[in-house]
Amino acid sequence: MDERRARTPVPVVASAVASAVASAVASVGRVPLAPGDHLCALYRGRAEREQLLTPFIADGLREGHSCLLLAADGEGRALRDVLAANAPAVGPDSDGLQIMGPKESYLLDGTFDGDHMLDMLHAWSDSTFSAGNGTFARLAADMSWAQPLVQPAFIHDLIRYEMKATRWFMSCPQVGMCLYDLELFSGDLIIPLVKAHPKVWLSGMVVENPYCAGPEEELDPREEVLEPRAADEV
């Protein structure tokens, strides 16, 4: 991982709702998002996922934003069709939308490596923002692929990745939404996820977490308090 990128100081996200509204560049379920926001959306079932995902990406395409959709395995084509139907002016082959499955992103080497994934995200943002034309970016990630992998060590790696992703989101004019299905994931993942995200969307509400575990904690090798404990440790 690029050390320069990892050490770039960024402010802790603790913005009030009012300021978020004022600087809103996107929304999820009518809840405004500000540049740099990293939202954890806890939804139930496929229908609710599409209610969140479709307008988020379709609105971005209409606004001329660069959109990256990290879809669940085998759903890329279907999601592209749905988006084309919801944003017909953009079309299914729009340059503004890039869809990748887990095998092209999170599980590129067959296993999950958060640092490799972050390198990929940095490369994507370098490419997106290189023109310096003031473009804005949106990222949505359906995390359903992670369900079969859930165990303490994986949770540890995933939470560490999410914390670093928060730093990455804050480094560019972009917003991101990670989507976790409550019908697939249990408390062992949900609790650390909530602690690691500055904003959580649940049942139409966004709950802000000013005390989320920020990148600073994640970067201090002596601090492990935020890391989830493995079952065999307890």
Binding site: I190, M205, V207, Y211, V234
Partner: protein
């Protein structure tokens, strides 16, 4: 280093504070998830899987109190052993320590709500947790209990709502049934009203048919017992109306009489009009589409009751009229004054003024019952005879207006009864009722003469009796027969042997006064043929037809022979 160490301590305190608040925040979000509509099992599963994420503990199991028993929930949780269950029973709803094999510390967090204890969340740890860690698990247990209470309330609410929906559905169904019943009653009332109006307006059979047509919209036919059309209401009345096969029709009536509801035969929906078990007629709804339903069946059934009353009434009237006619005929035969006779005849619809003839009808093997008298009535009606009719002493008696056509009447009777074995006697003309007894006696004499003749099947008119008129009724005709045989016997035998017409030729010769041309014309033969036959008559009979005495006896014999039937 000191500065660095102090900064590190502040950072560590800040990090601890943030961590603690972040844990509480995550429990808050977890509580929202627990309360998003999950059932009790899902809530406990969420709590159990969260235990390891908020402290150094392991979830041993969740238990829910169901009917005063602790039930492991969710089923199949790996650490929920029966030993834990036993220890929980000893706690009796309180929370407290619990031994867990291989673990230094175990604790049963009681799940309390306002209604009391509803279960346990059992956790363990390799060592006793800190106060903060214990506090977080305790908060998790409290939130779990609250979410379980909400879930129970929601379930009850759902059950209540389901029960309400069921009750509402039941009530709606009852309302629908009630509305249907009211609608049915209103329809039945309208049927009753319309049929009552039809009855009040004269209650004719046609009126009933029209009323049923108005009520149902289907064409209606009313038939008599034999399938003949009595009335039709609605379009497309068949002309001529089809006459059913008698045997099949009778079978259909018997089948319909056995059933409580109208019977469908093809496009016909048939109901019977019955009075005291006797079928008087049938009402037929013409329903080609087969769309008639319960309302039409009700209308048909109700109308058949009205029709049965009407038909029974009509039959009673007919019977009374028939009785009056019989009594009138009896009185006319025995003799009554003219004025009374005219008045009574007019009362039953017959004009006694003008020439009348008495007709006596008797058939072999048939008693003079109602069926026989009715058959005579139908035969007379078929010949357009206006008459009074009665049964009397083994025969039917007609008081006929105008002279009846004798042979036509006999043929009509043969058609009615299916047998030629019967005799009819026609009396002489009577111009006033006072002459009727005499005409009746003459009819009896003509009937007797016919019955005693060699050809008893047929009609004999008193006017044609000739010499027989002078013979009293009930007399012995053997001498007369011998007289005929004496003078005509050889001719009759010859005719029988050679299929000739010598007797008929002789009779016609005398009736024409001995005129050759007239006789030949009447017989339709040539004059020379007549001359030849007369010669054969002289040869065969051995009588001289020019002799005055022989001529007289032969003439009388031919007359008698003709009266007796004109055949040997």
């Amino acid at each position: 280093m000191t500065a660095t160490s102090g900064k590190s301590d502040r950072s560590r305190r800040k990090t601890w504070g943030q961590e603690h608040v972040a844990n509480l925040y995550s429990l808050f979000v977890l509580s929202m998830i627990m309360n998003d509509g999950r059932d009790e099992s899902d809530i406990l599963r969420l709590a159990l899987t969260s235990v390891a994420a908020v402290g150094p503990c392991r979830a041993e199991g969740g238990f829910l109190t169901v009917d005063e028993l602790l039930v492991p929930t969710p089923a199949g949780w790996p650490h929920a052993t029966s030993e834990i269950d036993d220890h929980l029973q000893h706690l009796r709803g309180r929370e407290g320590p619990i031994p867990v094999p291989g673990r230094e510390w175990g604790w049963a967090f009681a799940l309390h709500t306002r209604g009391g204890g509803i279960g346990y969340l059992v956790v363990s740890a390799p060592s006793r947790p800190t106060g903060d860690e214990f506090f977080l698990i305790h908060v998790l247990a409290q939130q779990t209990a609250a979410a379980l209470a909400n879930a129970t309330a929601r379930r009850r609410e759902r059950d209540h709502a389901r029960e309400l929906r069921r009750l509402n559905a039941d009530r709606a169904a009852v309302n629908v049934r009630l509305a249907n019943t009211i609608s049915e009653l209103e329809y039945q009332r309208s049927v009753h009203e319309v049929l009552s109006q039809a009855a009040a307006g004269g209650g004719s059979v046609a009126g009933i048919a029209t009323a049923v047509y108005r009520l149902t919209g289907y064409p209606v036919a009313i038939e008599d017992r034999f399938g003949n059309l009595r009335a039709w209401a609605g379009p497309d009345c068949p002309d001529p109306y089809p006459k059913p096969d008698a045997a099949q029709h009778e079978e259909l009536l018997q089948e319909a009489a056995r059933r409580p509801l109208p019977v469908r035969v093809g496009e016909r929906l048939i109901a019977l009009a019955q009075h005291r078990g006797e079928v008087l007629g049938a009402m037929v709804l013409i329903d080609a589409a087969g769309s008639a339903g319960r309302q039409e069946e009700f209308t048909l059934d109700h109308a058949c009751t009205a029709l049965a009353l009407e038909l029974a009434h009509l039959r009673n009237i007919a019977e009374v009229e028939l009785r009056l006619r019989r009594e009138l005929v009896d009185d006319l035969i025995t003799g009554t004054d003219d004025e009374s006779a005219y008045a009574r005849a007019a009362a039953v619809g017959h004009d006694l003024h003008g020439p009348h003839y008495l007709v006596a009808v008797q058939w072999v093997g048939r008693a003079a019952d109602d069926a026989f008298v009715q058959a005579v009535g139908r035969a007379a009606a078929g010949l357009r005879m206006r008459s009074l009719l009665a049964g009397r002493s083994g025969m039917a008696v007609l008081v006929s207006e105008g002279r009846p056509r004798p042979e036509a009447l006999h043929q009509a009777m043969v058609r009615e009864l299916g047998s030629p074995s019967g005799s009819i006697g026609v009396g002489g003309r009577c111009d006033v009722p006072g002459e009727i007894p005499r005409s009746f006696e003459e009819a009896l004499r003509a009937l007797e003469v016919r019955q005693r003749s060699r050809s008893p099947n047929g009609t004999t008119a008193f006017d044609e009796l000739g010499l027989y008129r002078i013979l009293g009724p009930g007399g012995d005709y053997r001498e007369v027969d011998q007289f005929v045989r004496e003078w005509l016997g050889p001719l009759l035998d010859y005719d029988a042997a050679h299929h000739s017409d010598l007797a008929q030729t002789l009779s016609q010769y005398f009736e024409c006064g001995g005129n050759y041309d007239g006789t030949a014309a009447a017989l339709g033969i040539h004059r020379s043929t007549l001359r030849y036959r007369l010669q054969r008559i002289r040869d065969v009979s051995g009588s001289d037809i020019t002799d005055v005495d022989s001529r007289l006896n032969l003439h009388v014999a031919t007359r008698v022979w003709k009266v007796l039937g004109g055949s040997p």
